[in-house]
């Protein structure tokens, strides 16, 4: 019987068609059911609620289940101004979420501090302490923009290879 060398095993695993297919299926399913965390920080949160409501209806895209517990959701929408006091809480919520988890920065506050950029107590964007996947600019962004952001995140989740080159954060 031939002994398989260690690097050969790697080759076998890498070329295992079934494994990659299961992964792709999981990714596809993940991308189609991104459950957001019920969590808002400032005025953008109001717009996030409007997105889930009657007129814009986020439920159409499978993101209708806003879970209140971080253990059960996949997507953290940072909707609003992150103050220095709130930053540890946001970080903790992120750490409580179960893998795989994604972060969407909504509004200029969550992207870079927004109108409060020169304030003494505002954190300059969510990406200073969290791996943000998608940025949705605006003050506040319209619900359509948020839905578009979530659809972009869906592309990113479903095709991890495609965005490999563009990646900046972990």
């Amino acid at each position: 019987m031939d002994v398989i060398k260690p690097n050969q095993v790697d080759e076998v695993v890498r070329n295992n068609v079934v494994l990659s297919t299961v992964d792709a299926a999981f990714n596809w399913c993940r991308s189609r059911s991104l459950w957001p965390l019920t969590f808002g920080l400032a005025c953008c949160a109001i717009e996030m609620m409007a997105t889930a409501d009657t007129r814009y209806d986020l439920a159409r895209f499978g993101s209708e289940v806003f879970r209140p517990s971080p253990r059960q959701c996949d997507l953290m929408i940072i909707a609003g101004t992150i103050t220095k006091k709130m930053q540890p809480v946001v970080k903790r919520l992120y750490e409580q979420m179960a893998e795989p988890k994604y972060v969407l920065a909504m509004g200029s506050c969550a992207i870079s501090g927004g109108p409060f950029v020169d304030s003494y107590n505002v954190v300059l964007g969510g990406d200073t302490f969290l791996p943000v996947d998608v940025y949705v600019p605006g003050c506040p962004p319209r619900p359509e923009a948020l839905i578009y952001g979530i659809l972009q995140l869906r592309e990113k989740v479903a095709n991890p290879k495609k965005i490999e080159g563009l990646r900046k954060h972990g």
Partner: protein
């Protein structure tokens, strides 16, 4: 008609096991029971897919939204996709949790649900065990669900879970009493706890007519029993995050949800059997098989549950307790009294 159909299948299976594979009598019986158990579990899971889809569509309908409509016909595939995603999530067990209890709590609730299904008939003779104390067994098993909810709340080592678990226990124990009392009226009229006897007694008139008050009490009490809105205080999101399953993620969370929906189907089935005539066809429409009638009635009950859930806001815990103890229990007791007097008078007149 469907009695012969299902029984023919069962007999054929038993024959095949005994003659074709040379099983002994007991072994064939055991195997047939195992297969039927599997069928029941599959029935619950199949129902789940339809139920979650209906729940989302109804909630969308009541809130003038569209609901999921991208995956599959009218968003029907949304739930299977959700389940696959939930299966692929990380399974978090909190560091300070009581790990063994935490792990088995959700499975315990699921086992309770399956056990309760043992005595629920899905048609004439289509039943796992037609016990002569079937209803009693169902209620007894149903009340042990409280233990698993408490296990989940207590073992998570989280204050919100604990409060959620405590609330569930208080709520379920209070509402079990009017629920049982409301079913007693029917039992008095039939004179049997066997569910097939109850259905047989409704050949001419469904018990919702003489026992209308009992039906209403049963309905309200089961809404509280299954922890659905407007009585879903155990998982009131504003105050308790997600109640007793706050700390659960991934597959364990999915099992909680499956068990809850299984309970919902179980209580709807009991309501259809006790009050809505089970598999008896109304208006002599017997060309439609009884199984289909039963399913229609079950889904009608489920529709009522969803309608109530998505229409009324959640009420406060003390109001809930007052309503249960000071209104539902007296009403259900009075119903028992009136039923008893009615039966006595009826016997006097008939002779």
């Amino acid at each position: 008609m469907e009695k012969s159909f299902f029984n023919t299948i069962a007999d054929a299976l038993r024959n095949w096991l005994m003659n074709g594979l040379g099983f002994s009598d007991t072994a064939a019986q055991l195997t047939a029971t195992a297969i039927w158990t599997l069928v029941v579990i599959l029935f619950i899971l199949m129902n789940l897919i339809v139920l979650v889809w209906l729940e989302r569509k109804f909630s969308a309908f009541f809130q003038q939204r569209r609901g999921p409509n991208r995956l599959g016909p009218a968003g029907f595939l949304q739930f299977p996709v959700d389940i696959v995603k939930v299966l692929g999530k990380e399974d978090i067990i909190p560091a300070n949790a009581d790990k063994t209890v935490f792990k088995i709590a959700s499975t315990c609730l699921f086992i309770t649900t399956i056990l309760a299904w043992a005595v629920i008939p899905l048609g004439d003779g289509v039943i796992l065990a037609d016990l002569n104390i079937g209803l009693f067994y169902f209620l007894a098993i149903g009340s042990t669900a409280t233990v698993s909810l408490m296990m989940g709340g207590f073992s998570s080592n989280n204050k919100y879970s604990l409060i959620g678990g405590m609330r569930t226990v208080a709520q379920m124990i209070s509402y079990e009493i009017p629920m049982i009392f409301s079913l007693l009226g029917v039992v008095m009229m039939v004179g049997s706890l066997r569910l097939s006897d109850v259905v047989a007694a409704q050949q001419n008139m469904w018990f919702i007519v003489p026992q209308a008050i009992a039906f209403l009490v049963y309905f309200v009490a089961t809404v509280a029993e299954t922890n659905r809105g407007p009585f879903d205080l155990a998982e009131g999101e504003q105050e308790l995050v997600a109640g007793y399953f706050t700390e659960y993620s991934g597959i364990r969370y999915a099992i909680w949800m499956i068990a809850e929906y299984g309970n919902l189907v179980a209580v709807s089935t009991i309501a259809s059997i006790m009050f809505l005539g089970g598999w008896n066809a109304p208006f002599g429409l017997t060309f439609i098989p009884g199984f289909v009638w039963l399913l229609l009635k079950i889904y009608f009950m489920i529709f009522l549950f969803m309608w109530v859930k998505w229409t009324y806001p959640r009420i406060r815990i003390d109001h809930l307790m007052h309503f249960g103890w000071k209104f539902l229990i007296p009403v259900s007791l009075a119903n028992i009294l009136v039923t008893g007097i009615g039966i006595y008078v009826y016997r006097l007149i008939i002779g």
